[in-house]
């Protein structure tokens, strides 16, 4: 499985990467992007199965990234997870309309992230 982590904080990306490695999920490669535009380029160049994205980012935010992904038939099998400080009802409803599998609000404990990743990875295998 190939995973793409999208967050403008390199420390947050490193932390998520560390937790991914703590799970028993078989991972072939972990890609990283600092904003939605970089993420789109990586999605076009690689076959990614699991997308973990923040919402508030410069250049292109996570909501716009997910809207573009939702419009393309190419990504219909891509499992999408939001990891964001924004825990609002409005954002969660918007995410549901964009085929987001899990919504994890920051701050989170590593254990919760591990469980979300394990669950999301199971949906990739189905």
């Amino acid at each position: 499985m190939r995973i793409l982590i999208v967050d403008d904080s390199s420390m947050m990306r490193a932390m998520i990467k560390r937790v991914v490695k703590m799970t028993r999920v078989p991972v072939d490669e972990i890609l990283e992007a600092g904003d939605g535009a970089e993420a789109l380029e990586l999605l076009e160049a690689h076959d990614v199965q699991l997308l973990l994205t923040d919402i508030n980012m410069p250049v292109m935010n996570g909501a716009d990234l997910l809207r573009k992904v939702a419009r393309s038939d190419r990504y219909r099998k891509l499992t999408r997870v939001i990891i964001s400080t924004d825990g609002s009802t409005q954002r969660r409803e918007e995410a549901a309309g964009l085929s987001v599998r899990c919504y994890l609000k920051k701050p989170f404990s590593p254990e919760v992230l591990r469980d979300v990743l394990t669950h999301a990875a199971e949906t990739v295998r189905v």
Binding site: D8, S9, S10, M11, M12, A14, M15, R18, N56, M57, P58, N61, S84, T85, D86, G87, S88, T89, Q90, R91, E94, K105, K106, P107, F108, S109
Partner: protein, 167 residues
């Protein structure tokens, strides 16, 4: 989840929801303990880290800033990254990134507590080194994180009660 009836209000005067947000962030993501702070104490650090975040949810906009002495920033960095304190000092831009993310999470948690129904935009955090903040300021919240002082400033440029909804 907190219902909209029991949510605290976003207020320039009420620091309690911000303190709750700092506690949630510190405990969940940094394994740190937050206490009240009557006296920030004396620190010899030549500068503090100042992290500033702007927010806007279409009804209310404002800002939140965290002031951290360098030893607290380093402690939070070690706990978030799993770095061995005996390892070489991390590059300053990595510590800045972490302090910015901390402030971002505090701001987001505060907004989610007080304004849980509306999605919001957060600006990328700006992190600079600055002289120690004034301890006499009455609009500043002080807490202790793992026994180190942390100051938080916040402001609202349009209050929910007075600002017309844009959505």
């Amino acid at each position: 989840m907190t219902s909209s009836h029991t949510r605290p209000k976003l207020s320039v005067f009420d620091g309690a929801p911000i303190r709750d947000a700092v506690s949630a962030v510190a405990e969940k993501s940094f394994f740190a303990i937050v206490d009240g702070c009557d006296d920030p104490g004396v620190t010899t650090a030549p500068f503090w880290l100042f992290a500033f975040v702007r927010f806007d949810d279409g009804r209310t906009s404002g800002s939140l800033a965290c002031w951290l002495p360098p030893e607290l920033a380093q402690m939070l960095f070690d706990s978030f990254s799993g770095r061995d304190p005996a390892a070489p000092t991390p590059p300053a831009h990595h510590v800045d990134d972490l302090v910015g993310e901390f402030s971002n999470m505090v701001c987001g948690d505060w907004l989610s507590r007080c304004h849980g129904q509306w999605a919001f935009q957060l600006s990328p955090p700006i992190v600079v080194r600055a002289p120690r903040p004034d301890m006499r300021s009455t609009r500043r919240l002080w807490v202790k994180v793992n026994d180190r002082p942390l100051a938080i400033d916040w402001d609202l440029t349009a209050a929910p009660e007075s600002a017309p909804a844009r959505r």
